[in-house]
Subunit: 456 residues, 2 copies
């Protein structure tokens, strides 16, 4: 703690103490941010996760290595205990070959495609004429006659007018998730889905899709937005152009994996838990730096910061690294199932799974009284620019914990850049800013601290 | 306008109309943002400026090309008038050769250096022992005996605890600006300055420095932060290590250049002016995408947006692209001088020269009554997340306009990433996000609109 005392002489933020603000708490948070910006470790943790482990799709060797890596890391950091929870996860593999071509009268040109998570492979190269649609209503309107034997090309862009890019994503993701099953209804032989990003770039963005037992399973791939624009242009000129693509993805049997949990024991109520977590699995095209390596690094760092500050929590604090958020949510479900089974009382869970951009506030999900209490944290967080509180949408992994008592929250970073990298090969450490990442970790630590201090 | 009407049916932002809010104004601003996010042109303008023109240091061919390019662009966009203001600018050239070596007992290793703007060249390769200091007080304490004949190495990092990176920059920039003249007092033969960035990277960041007539002129170079750390480490082990570096920079006579101005004529008070501006010159290592290509693109786009929306301003609106902000501010001074000479009444000037990150609000500089009025714009801007108003620091180029009557403002983007790219080879279009850039342009257009509507 000696080091921290020197910070008091170098207070860098404007001091806006108000009547109702407890100066001990305020000063602790101020020192927490200053320490975090000076000697934070989350960027180091994330760099190591991305380089020493790399991509970590559920069931892969990378995912197994991520479990070992984070178990060891939290052990090395001196957490009071670190343990694993067994969970069976789906095991989908991309396979070796992915490519696509646009075939027009003037020749063939490459299009950049990638299998959607969960898709079956093509039988060799799939080649067919193309039907472009904006939504499922278009399918119904066109009918079997126009669709049968063709590749359905979903080309509805994310709507750029939404200030929150998550809202824009929410408005487009049905194409990816249900596109194959909807197109199969009408006899399509495959689907190609415009990548869910607001950028015009050459990267295909993957993500989960699902089949329905009622219809044929057909291959589903994403295509980069630049190529989507080109296909659209060529289709406008000639509706008989063809697309050929190959993907090699396949399913393996469910595989044993783990949630990884690190604890700092509570001094007053050790049987009551406060959780901070992100998901340990990632898609396989990049190294999951934003999604959700950032959340993993921040969730570990939040507890490390509090420990390094000498803080002794009232409740037990847990870093929970959930397995399989991306294509199954099995880890989140398992954690909640075991918490119920073991009668663990959870006070609060906060998730960080929205990238590592500049943190602006938190999403809140709880009783009106809880929300009112948490909103009062603004008095402590405003000087650190993290005070935008929004309702709902705390996070997928902690959702299963919801029981009317536990308070759920989500760190809310600025969303503008998130879908530039989301599920694409560009989701790498080079696109993460260390300060923004570390500000998120400090925000989480401060939030946990305030909950530990103020929740009964 | 037909296109815009369709937006009304697709309003994407939460409507939070308050009693005192004029719904016509609110709806205009909402449509402005939606149009801007859908069909904005600032990223296209910036891409072209960076690729067709490139770096544009005052006096260079690039700067001359930038004048022609933006003059033509605003003419093509149909501004009511576009004209140039002549201004003589300093003409400093980097020269061809820049390199550095760290020489220790175990051998030589490369260090990445670049001449500071304004520095003289080295006489061949400058090689000397090194004195590391944190500040000018260290120089005084060490004295001539320790410094004479050596290279002074300024190694005080930007202080990471400041939430605003501009504050951290302000606390470090004296080393770069005055480092050479202060070291020359004690007989130093050259200076090497730790790059002003919060990142640990291998890029040297340039920027202006100044000599004093009272002391010898000695060469001044920046060194990357990674190399600065290495030099520090080696000096700790052996105080007799040497640094050798060569820079080839030199001065040419002042050169004729221009401010570029585009206007949309006012319908009620055409002789009263509202200005939006950024600077057209840039440093020469990157292509000045953030500094200040973004400001150039946004300043042009702000007026284009208003024009495309069919808005007929009361006052005359001007896009002013100032020459020579980086190493002389001659353009800003000339603009103010001519405004005074020509008795042009300026109502408001807003500058955009803080990069293209996510815009959060504006910096305000005016009378208490003006500031109170502008703060009320929050009612219109809050739904677009641009409502943080801070006092002072509007912008360097518009500073000379200050006369107690004109209101000055500056667009305030989030600052976390700005110094990652500032004055370095990484200040390129690849590090600009189109939506963030465009949100800034929309914010400027909305601000101009509100001033035009509400200032008397």
């Amino acid at each position: 703690m000696k080091k921290l005392i020197t910070f008091v002489g170098a207070l860098a933020f404007g001091f806006s103490l108000q009547a109702q603000v407890d100066s001990t708490k305020y000063n602790f948070i101020k020192q927490l941010f200053e320490y975090s910006l000076t000697d934070g470790k989350s960027y180091d943790f994330l760099s190591r996760l991305c380089s020493e482990v790399g991509p970590r799709l559920s069931g892969s060797e990378g995912a197994a290595e991520a479990v070992v890596f984070t178990d060891q890391l939290m052990t090395d950091l001196g957490f009071d205990s670190v343990f694993l929870q067994e969970v069976m996860v789906p095991n989908w593999k991309r396979g070796d070959e992915e490519f696509g071509f646009l075939k027009t009268q003037s020749g063939e040109s490459l299009i950049r495609v990638t299998a959607l998570g969960g898709s079956i492979k093509t039988d060799g190269v799939l080649e067919a004429e193309v039907v472009e649609v904006q939504n499922f209503g278009d399918l119904e309107r066109l009918g079997k006659k126009a669709i049968k034997g063709k590749i359905v090309f979903y080309n509805r862009p994310m709507n750029p007018v939404h200030l929150s890019t998550f809202t824009a994503y929410g408005g487009g993701v049905d194409q990816r998730w249900k596109g194959a099953q909807e197109a199969a209804k009408y006899g399509a032989v495959g689907v190609l889905v415009r990548s869910l990003t607001l950028r015009l770039d050459t990267l295909p963005h993957t993500g989960s899709m699902a089949y329905s037992d009622k219809y044929d399973k057909i291959p589903a791939a994403a295509v980069s937005t630049v190529d989507a624009e080109e296909i659209h242009k060529q289709l406008t000129a000639d509706e008989h152009i063809k697309i050929a693509y190959k993907i090699s993805s396949y399913w393996r049997p469910d595989t044993l994996s783990h949630n990884v949990i690190g604890e700092i024991k509570g001094t007053e109520k050790p049987e009551e838990y406060i959780v901070v977590g992100g998901h340990l699995d990632s898609w396989d095209l990049g190294t999951g730096a934003h999604d959700d390596g950032a959340g993993v690094a921040q969730s570990i760092e939040a507890l490390r910061l509090l420990k390094a500050m000498g803080y002794e929590p009232k409740h037990t604090l847990r870093t929970v690294l959930f397995m399989n958020e991306e294509n199954g949510l099995r880890g989140g479900k398992k954690y909640a199932e075991l918490a119920k089974e073991n009668k663990e009382k959870h006070i609060m869970a906060v998730e960080t799974d929205a990238g590592s951009s500049y943190p602006e506030g938190f999403r809140l999900d709880g009783t009106p009284e809880q929300i009112e209490l948490v909103k009062s944290y603004r008095d402590y967080l405003e000087d650190f620019d993290i005070y935008k509180f929004k309702k709902g949408g705390s996070g997928a992994d902690i959702g299963p914990l919801k029981n009317g008592e536990v308070f759920l929250a989500g760190l809310n970073p600025n969303s503008q850049r998130y879908f530039d990298y989301h599920h694409a090969a560009s989701d790498v450490i080079e696109n993460v800013n260390p300060r923004e990442l570390q500000l998120g970790a400090a925000a989480l630590a401060a939030f946990i601290y305030l909950v530990d201090q103020t929740f009964e």
